[in-house]
Amino acid sequence: MGKVLLLTRREISAYFVSPIAYVAMALFLVIAGIFFALADFRPGAPAGMRSIFDIMMFILIFIIPIVTMRSLSEEQRSGTIETLLTAPVTDIQVVVAKFLGSWIFYLAMLAPTLIYVVLLAAFGNPEYGPVASGYLGLVLLGALYVSIGLLASSLTENQVIAAVTAFAILIVLAMLGPWIATVVPSRWWIIGVRAIVQQATVRTHYQDFSQGVVDLVHVIYFVALTAYALFLTVKVLESRRWR
């Protein structure tokens, strides 16, 4: 555990000296701010953050791959992976620390959006329940996106390829369900497949959070899928042993 913390601390400090991390953060806050101003922070609109929570699911598909792309790919490109993995640490410790580092950076990126809550409270009378559940949803969503970004960056030593791969996986994972519902005809034999795809889709499980519902099934979905992506990342690192 001590080593995980040590590695995580290094990851986080690496973010705060990296220009790309600041670019991603600025981009995220600008886009989120614009959407908040246009969708939620309007005269006459209900004092809530439902729209911005829903939109974040899409914004983060673009932002998080930028945050995670260098994580493991840069180690592979520069060769530091060799010193890292020949130190007395396990592959699991390395992956967990990489995950925590990126996730904590994401949470730091999310923190300034709490100012929206302050604004809503100043100009209206928001219900805090859905805001809290919405943030819980964002915390879980971020964990899933980060773990997939990490998996993509373990696959290549090229940061751009890592980002594009993560982006491709995320867009399919987030959007496949709604898309398949509109495209595939409702034949009896295909309904089962459609139901499975719907259940595997991020949007199905994310929406409830922004509406103030915290369902354990949705929490388990995010936690399990995050853990699975991290498990695959560990396997990719281990694969150097049989490649």
Partner: protein, 327 residues
Amino acid sequence: MCAMIEVENLTKWYGNTLAVDRATFSVEEGRIVGFLGPNGAGKSTALRILTGFLPATSGQARVNGRDVLMESLAVRSSIGYMPENVPLYPEMRVEEYLAFRAGLKDVPSPKRRAAVDRVLQRCWLKEVRRRLIGQLSKGFRQRVGLAEALVADPPVLILDEPTIGLDPTQIEETSKLIRSLGGKHTVLLSSHLLPQVEKACSHVVIIADGQIKAADSLDELKKGLAHRRQVVMELRAGDTGDGPAEVGRALGQVAGAADASTDEVGGGWLRAVVTPAADADLREGLCALVAQRGWQLREIHRLAPTLDELYARIVAGEAVTAGKEAA
């Protein structure tokens, strides 16, 4: 003395390419051993297997009595490893990086400062301790890599090309540092340049095409050379009328000589190199021949055995026997 590093029949295939072919050698405690071979001979691959970064296809390797595959973590804690090209995090400061690595290598936190100070001192890094690694020159980066390998004071050091890319002064300093590690640490350092190994090591393991061609102490290898010390002479046939070919033929027929070659060096002088067939000193016989023929002689000496020559021959796959006979 017990063997700190033992390698038995180690084989590594990359797909269809054989990188290491049934390598067997051992390194005894406290020794500084040079791991020598041309580029692409399998040095880095073998070192990566020893450090647990890559698995072997077959065969066994033990460091400090533990199997590198089965007890990987224990092996890794007893090794300080400096990979080729010294990969480092450019965004970290020297001190910060060394403290981070000390923590990863189980140096307890109260002792980390002292451990870092010790290696900063030892690797002449004091004046750059607060600099960003990315801004350091190649020589300093190399020293940071070495300091990193030393920071947890491991019993075994594995250094992959520690002196590559350094200027002669830095090479000298690094060799001195490595020499000072002997006794307390067991050091295996790879290089494709023999002179660098010669300065720091007492023993060498020579690898070429993935196979171990020789593994012995430098002194033993030199002895193996001594029995084939060539004689170099400069002489002139003068007015005896003997041509270069005739001179060469006559020299080659001196008792004990195996071969002779001649080159013209101007002014009628010939430079002849005579190779003995066995451990024989040809100088007397050659001088007698020169006197008998009435040639003029202005220089004669025996070549000192150079390892360069031996190394070149071993790598070419020829003189494996030279080392073995001596041993």
